[in-house]
């Protein structure tokens, strides 16, 4: 029942083993992507310029950063710099993993449930952290009983289920892309796997965007409730004057 050449996740490909320490393909590809991104950015930002002649790599990075900032503001977070590090990292890491599918022999680490579960857990921990930083512990805990106190178990279950949904959505999309190309390569090796790889690029980029936008929406929902009070205080003034 198990096709020997098709692995469901790259966790099962063990590249090196010494005693009980196993180095599987997921770890190797994750570290390779991390090192490539960090080295590339360090090389580009060595000499940042603000005058007329800006190198094209710096312009490209600026475009990416301002684009992500604009998206964060559109979701409803009015101070994007606070959240840019976390949300930008999510988008860039998942996006780079998806785009690197075109390199031969590369299996995206997001095609393994371990990586996507780790990313979803980061979002699960980050949402209360940002919420408590904005509203204080009492204010954040009050959002759980927000419509009525009866909704408390449903809010908690909703938090857990949307974390699980984030992990499984990203895992399913990336794993299906890899698996379809793998199976097609044993059937029609020439043009069709390339078309499916292109489709995998598209869905991978869309999933990177979806993951970070959903994380931004959850953070906005957790930090949003304190905002309407200044507007309500500003309104009585014209009537008093």
């Amino acid at each position: 029942m198990i096709l020997p050449s098709v692995h469901i996740t790259s966790d099962q490909q063990i590249l090196w083993q010494h005693g009980f320490v196993k180095l599987n393909e997921t770890i190797v590809t994750t570290w390779a992507v991390m090192i490539a991104m960090t080295l590339g950015s360090a090389l580009i930002t060595r000499k940042l310029a603000t005058e007329r002649t800006i190198s094209r790599w710096q312009s490209a990075l600026e475009m990416i950063v301002t684009g992500i900032e604009g998206q964060i503001v559109e979701v409803g977070l009015n101070e994007p710099r606070k959240y840019l590090a976390f949300l930008g990292t999510l988008f860039l890491f998942i996006g780079t993993c998806s785009v690197c599918i075109v390199l031969p022999g590369f299996t995206p680490p997001t095609g393994s449930l371990s990586t996507t579960a780790a990313l979803a857990l980061c979002v699960f921990i980050a949402v209360p952290l940002f919420g408590i930083r904005e509203q204080g512990i009492g204010g954040y805990l009050k959002t759980y009983i927000k419509p009525t106190p009866i909704m408390l178990p449903f809010n908690i279950i909703g938090e857990l289920s949307r974390t699980l949904a984030l992990a499984v959505r990203l895992f399913g999309n990336m794993m299906s892309g890899v698996m379809i190309v793998g199976i097609l390569l044993t059937i029609t090796p020439f043009i069709f796997p390339i078309v499916m790889t292109l489709l995998g690029l598209l869905t991978g980029s869309v999933q990177a965007y979806i993951f970070s936008i959903l994380a931004a929406v959850y953070i906005a929902a957790a930090t949003r409730v304190a905002k309407p009070k200044p507007a309500a205080e500003a309104h009585p003034e014209p009537s008093a004057a």
Binding site: V168, R169, G172
Partner: protein, 93 residues
């Protein structure tokens, strides 16, 4: 029919039915959402970036239920715990 054969037959049939039925609902839902997105694009072409972005986010949410059924099918075919149990028993003999 012994239990190993029964597990294999039921797993294979269930894997096929899971993906088959599981993709009908999301496909219908996505069709409706794209249709209403095109209607609103025709009515307000200058809101196109917002509409397109919201359309893609909504499509990804609908797609995720189809992905859940796909993952279950894959588990039944490639990482089936009941089948692995029988394999380990047969290997042990």
């Amino acid at each position: 029919m012994d239990s190993a054969t029964l597990v294999a037959v039921v797993s294979i049939i269930t894997a096929g039915i899971t993906t088959g039925f599981g993709c009908m609902g999301p496909a219908l839902g996505e069709g409706r959402s794209v249709a209403s997105a095109m209607t609103s694009l025709a009515q307000q072409p200058d809101a196109a970036p917002t509409i397109t972005r919201t359309l893609f986010v909504g499509l990804a949410m609908i797609e995720s239920t189809a992905i859940y059924t796909f993952v279950v099918s894959m588990i039944l075919i490639f990482a089936n715990p009941f089948w692995n149990h029988f394999l380990s028993q047969a290997g042990g003999k």
